[in-house]
Symmetry: none
Subunit: 202 residues, 4 copies
Amino acid sequence: MARLVEQRKDLLASMMRDGIYEAAVAVMTRYGMEGTTMDRVAEEAEVAKGSLYNYFPSKLDLLKFVHDKTVEPMEQRAQEILAEEIPALQKLESLIREWFGYLDKHRGLFNFLFNDQVARELLLDRKSSGHAKAVEDVATIVRQGIQEGTLRQLDPMRVAWLLFGAMREIVEGQLSNNETRPMINLTEEVLDFVLHGIGNGK
Amino acid sequence: MARLVEQRKDLLASMMRDGIYEAAVAVMTRYGMEGTTMDRVAEEAEVAKGSLYNYFPSKLDLLKFVHDKTVEPMEQRAQEILAEEIPALQKLESLIREWFGYLDKHRGLFNFLFNDQVARELLLDRKSSGHAKAVEDVATIVRQGIQEGTLRQLDPMRVAWLLFGAMREIVEGQLSNNETRPMINLTEEVLDFVLHGIGNGK
Amino acid sequence: MARLVEQRKDLLASMMRDGIYEAAVAVMTRYGMEGTTMDRVAEEAEVAKGSLYNYFPSKLDLLKFVHDKTVEPMEQRAQEILAEEIPALQKLESLIREWFGYLDKHRGLFNFLFNDQVARELLLDRKSSGHAKAVEDVATIVRQGIQEGTLRQLDPMRVAWLLFGAMREIVEGQLSNNETRPMINLTEEVLDFVLHGIGNGK
Amino acid sequence: MARLVEQRKDLLASMMRDGIYEAAVAVMTRYGMEGTTMDRVAEEAEVAKGSLYNYFPSKLDLLKFVHDKTVEPMEQRAQEILAEEIPALQKLESLIREWFGYLDKHRGLFNFLFNDQVARELLLDRKSSGHAKAVEDVATIVRQGIQEGTLRQLDPMRVAWLLFGAMREIVEGQLSNNETRPMINLTEEVLDFVLHGIGNGK
DNA sequence: CATGAATGAGTTTTCATTCAT
DNA sequence: GATGAATGAAAACTCATTCAT
């Protein structure tokens, strides 16, 4: 019985955290990192400021939560792709497509997720940032591709960084141009670039 | 004679500005943008807080100065390379090499120069951010390469973003790994990636 | 029930505002406008500096509040007097008496209300300064008196300024002499001066 | 001989003080009391800021000097008028005329001379403000007028305050209306008001 | 547990005054 | 004496965090 009460409590707390999460995302999207104050989050969440502290010990913890919660599903999906039994090239395409789809949602959080100093700082003490993990995933695929003979023998980590960066940048270009078309359409183009480069071969 | 006194004064002022610049860079490197307060800069520079305002009318002006002073020589160099009468591929290599050499100095400012939201904001009213300009430079080279037939017919701007991003990311990877070897060594590798991609040809 | 809670809150907020008002008046009286800092007000009110900003968005707003709260009842009263159906001379006497009574309270604020540049500036965007309004009120009475034939045909506005100034000055004289007798006793005398001047008739 | 050197020094110092005086007046007129900083005065005087302190130990001393130097000639003139052997009424008219003429010059300093808290504070330790002295002068004239039978038997000091206030206020009215016609034209009107009041006699 | 007022350290900026040159 | 850079004590305002109700 106490067990049941316990569960109910956990459930409620979890819902609260989610509500605050949504609010935080909204505020971050609207005001940017600098403008994200606990006041605004509380107001957006329609909760008293003090209540935030019942669910998150500090602002930093809230930010970490937002980060994790946003990155998590993407990482989940990446793991699934990695686990499939398909050629590296297909995995790569799936992953890129997935990323773009993911970034089409969360546009507002892009800076927070990838660029911002704060993000970086709050990740300092994490085992490994989503960012780094993503790069690692690519490296794994590259290794597979090399074994399969479909990819050149290059340093997998280096290649992963390059690939990831190319993708990230193009997203940023789109965002800074206020381009609203879905970024998922860029998948082919990016894949082409990554596989064949820009040189006109022989 | 008055001329000489004048010069001496300018020199001193210039030295102060440089000292403050150094201090600001140190603080930014150590504490990040968020943590860069005038207090800390003053302390680092071993000057009174008020003295900063004898050389920079506001914090924003100081930041602009730091940015310009850091970015300007690079832009200069880029223009020189663009103006040379050599094939696009050579320009590209020169540019990348230059960038890496440049980033080897200024490691601490990398985030300020390329990643930070604040940096972006304070550049909003500048002619055009160094970032955007750099991408534009690459696009120019790509256009030349396409005409020369050495580069594939791809959207030059898109390619520029991709290339720039790849490079930026690899730098970031190096930095976050606390890799201390000079980044300039990566030039070949990046160029190879960009030109041929990672696919194993046919 | 929620209604009750709401009311209690409003009441408390109102009390705080009043407390801060008192503190501000005390500080203004003691240190003058120049010396009225938010720090001092906070200290006087025995609240944290930050708390002031929970009740007044800015220092200017606090000053406006002080001004309004002090001036409003007087303006109210003036309007009542103007609206009465009595001869101009009676209105004039009433108004002057009211003013003196009013100034007997608020002695400390006299300079803030009538003399200070800052006060004037902060009233610039108000409908119309209490000062100007008071003069206007007198002019209205003078016009009535002229019509009734009890006052000479003089420029009403000019007369209003003269009258108002005479009164203001005498108050100031009293204050600077640290004269503590109620100023309301001066009503007759001022009225006599205003009506008959100091000349000995023919 | 040393005497001569001494004199030359005094003369130079005196000239410097006068130059700074002019500059201070210009700044006060242009920027108001709040905006009168030592920096601006120095710039206006085309002197280094530090030099100001060779001639005035502090800002307050400079302000006192400005005040005195501005008020002095007026007081001088008032004394002369008082000393003349003419009826009180004529003295009164002369004095008022003189005041208006005086205020026509020094418009920019009006607030500093008569209204400002700062002015008040810096006069606190003076034997007697120019303001108070002026009132005293009027009282003297009133006493004479009473003896001569041309003025009613009223409290001379009170009358002096009233008269002075009326005049001051009308000046202020002119200034706040940005009325640029010379105020000296108001002499008759004010005198009329003061002598006969606004009442329509019997 | 919810609330939101209270807190106060921290931020940018100003400016009278000092002092080495 | 002249200079003006250096100083640092205030000033207005912000906001993460606490805590009484």
